[in-house]
């Protein structure tokens, strides 16, 4: 199924938390500042409803997005008040992909964990949490995964300041 078909189906089943979609488009010739957008289409979903949305995508027979390929986040810029939490889903039976995006305010970066829907999300969320400072409520194992437990700051945020030293090891 193509993106249009997936979107129609999401609307028909009333997927929880679906806010809208974003398609690639060429630059607007009238507006010189507009750069257009290339790449893949995606849907916007409310962060609070993400687990329910993923569950709906997984269990609906005509979407059948049973594999969570990736869950990560993006800090678009220093000035942006939001982080994006991006989930990539894959359907083996129907051979299509779906990119799901949630806008999460940096000031209150907390959302429910999807680990109960896809067990594979557990580690991705741990990585996401330590790198971006997102709290996944109800996560069964909220430890750091790649970084040491005592690491200060969230390295993949755009406003991250590199540390001068770590346990007496100079980082300069």
């Amino acid at each position: 199924m193509d993106f249009r078909g997936i979107l129609d189906r999401l609307q028909v089943v009333g997927a929880p938390g679906l806010l809208g979609h974003d398609l690639p488009r060429p630059p607007d010739p009238k507006d010189k500042k507009d750069k257009g957008r290339g790449g893949d289409p995606f849907v916007w979903v409310e962060p609070e409803k993400l687990p329910a949305f993923l569950e709906c995508c997984r269990d609906d027979a005509r979407l059948s997005l049973e594999l969570l390929v990736d869950l990560s986040a993006v800090d678009p810029s220093k000035d942006d008040p939001n982080l994006w939490v991006v989930t990539h889903l894959l359907s083996l039976a129907l051979r299509h992909r779906l990119e799901v995006k949630c806008a999460l305010p940096k000031a209150a970066a907390t959302m429910p964990s999807s680990a109960s829907v896809h067990r594979g999300a557990q580690w991705h969320e741990r990585e996401c949490a330590e790198m971006f400072g997102i709290t996944f409520r109800g996560h069964p194992d909220p430890r750091h995964i790649l970084l040491p437990e005592d690491w200060i700051g969230f390295p993949l945020r755009k406003d991250y300041v590199f540390p001068d030293e770590y346990h007496g090891i100079s980082c300069k």
């Binding site: 750069k35 290339g38 893949d40 990736d70 800090d75 594979g120 557990q122």
Partner: protein
């Protein structure tokens, strides 16, 4: 003692573990690693053991974390390419390909046909090399030393082939954004053909020596069973998924580059685990898929050699690449599963986000589920069968 009973309930064949019950034991936590030959790199698995039975396992990663994703946000698009070599260092060609494809998708560049041919040949040869290591070291883990040396013999030739085409033996940076770095030197393609001929003969040696070897089958069948539902729940990909009998290969199901044509020509198949020697989705099945895939890769390489096109090997791209505003995800079939690159650009010289979805990372998570209940000796066989590269789990 409660722990032991729990552990027995989760084993595939509880009847056989009966003898454990009358041995008085206590829980013990053992650190496997960070330096342990079976972890194939710097990784630690905290194993809780009750006597000889593993009752819990907790992988601790991050020892090899090199901030690849952060670096991706600080260097130019082309400068990031050498870093892609370094996460899955056993399949660097595939990593180069995955990253290049994501950037190309966002830029919308057309790749010359000859470049795609050479890319496919390199990626498939690298897949063979990677599976040779996976299978060879797996034998080594469980005590079969000789096959490992046999496999290194062929891998050595494969690396010599890569050295001839790009000068490097492990970290190639050969597949570039827009094509490949340079054309194959004279005689290279015919040497690849010779390699295919020889490899097809030698492949039977591996099957006889290890794959159907009675001791190997006894060590790997019926342990570390991953049922289909568990494989999907964990998001496993690659041989780990196919070993559980799930018919999925990106090269056929979501073909990229030349794989549309190659699949249509019918020259290769997707081997699946069938539970031939034990239970579907056990360690033997995963090894079986890898071993069979090597032969399929040879067929793909042969197809490319047979229909090689002439022409340029790299598209016309500027020295400093500016990628249009937007975001793209490109997933390719790495030897270990789906390698995804998710790149976000704002139109500048540097990426906003350069996310790497490494197959080893997701495949490793399943250990938490399948190790409890196994015998300590079997944990080594189970860890080996996941075929992880720590460089990729930690990135």
């Amino acid at each position: 003692m409660v722990e032991t009973k729990d552990a027995q309930r989760t084993t595939a064949d509880p009847g056989k573990r009966e003898f454990m019950l009358d041995v008085r034991t206590q829980d013990m936590e053992v650190n496997m690693g960070p330096q342990h030959p079976a972890t194939h790199g710097v990784m630690r698995i905290l194993v809780r053991a009750d006597g000889e039975v593993c009752t819990g396992a907790q992988p601790h990663l991050g020892y090899l974390h090199r901030c690849a994703e952060k670096i991706g946000e600080n260097v130019e698009w082309l400068q990031y390419l050498p870093y892609t070599d370094r996460y899955d260092y056993l399949a660097a060609m595939n990593n180069n390909l995955g990253y290049s494809m994501a950037v190309e998708k966002l830029m919308g560049i057309e790749i010359p046909r000859r470049a795609m041919m050479i890319r496919t040949i390199c990626a498939e040869l690298n897949r063979i090399g990677s599976h040779l290591i996976a299978f060879g070291t797996y034998g080594l883990d469980i005590g079969a030393f000789t096959p490992f040396l046999y496999m290194f013999r062929e891998r050595e030739w494969m690396m010599a082939l890569f050295e001839k085409i790009c000068g490097a033996r492990l970290t190639y940076s050969y597949i570039r954004i827009g094509g490949v770095f340079n054309d194959a030197p004279p005689g290279w393609l015919s040497e690849v053909e010779r390699f295919c001929d020889v490899f097809e003969e030698k492949w039977h040696e591996y099957v006889d020596l290890l794959m159907v070897n009675h001791i190997f089958v006894q060590r790997t069948a019926n342990i570390g069973v991953i049922p289909r539902a568990m494989a999907l729940d964990f998001g496993l990909t690659g041989p780990m998924l196919r070993g559980s009998g799930v018919d999925w290969d990106l090269r056929r199901d979501m073909p990229y580059e030349l794989y549309v044509e190659i699949w249509k020509s019918g020259c290769f198949q997707i081997p699946l685990g069938k539970g031939e020697r034990g239970t579907l989705g056990d360690c033997w099945d995963r090894s079986y898929v890898r071993v069979m895939e090597m032969m399929e890769s040879i067929q793909i390489v042969r197809w490319c050699l047979g229909s090689i096109a002439s022409g340029p090997v790299i598209a016309d791209i500027p020295k400093t690449i500016r990628v249009p505003n937007g975001e793209a995800y490109a997933g390719i079939e790495n030897p270990r599963g789906e390698l995804g690159h998710y790149v976000v650009s704002d139109g500048g010289k540097v990426a906003i986000r350069c996310r790497v979805r490494g197959p080893s990372f997701t495949n490793l998570a399943v250990l938490e589920e399948i190790l409890p209940g196994a015998l300590i000796a079997d944990t080594i066989a189970i860890i080996g069968s996941t075929d992880i590269v720590v460089g990729e789990t930690d990135r």
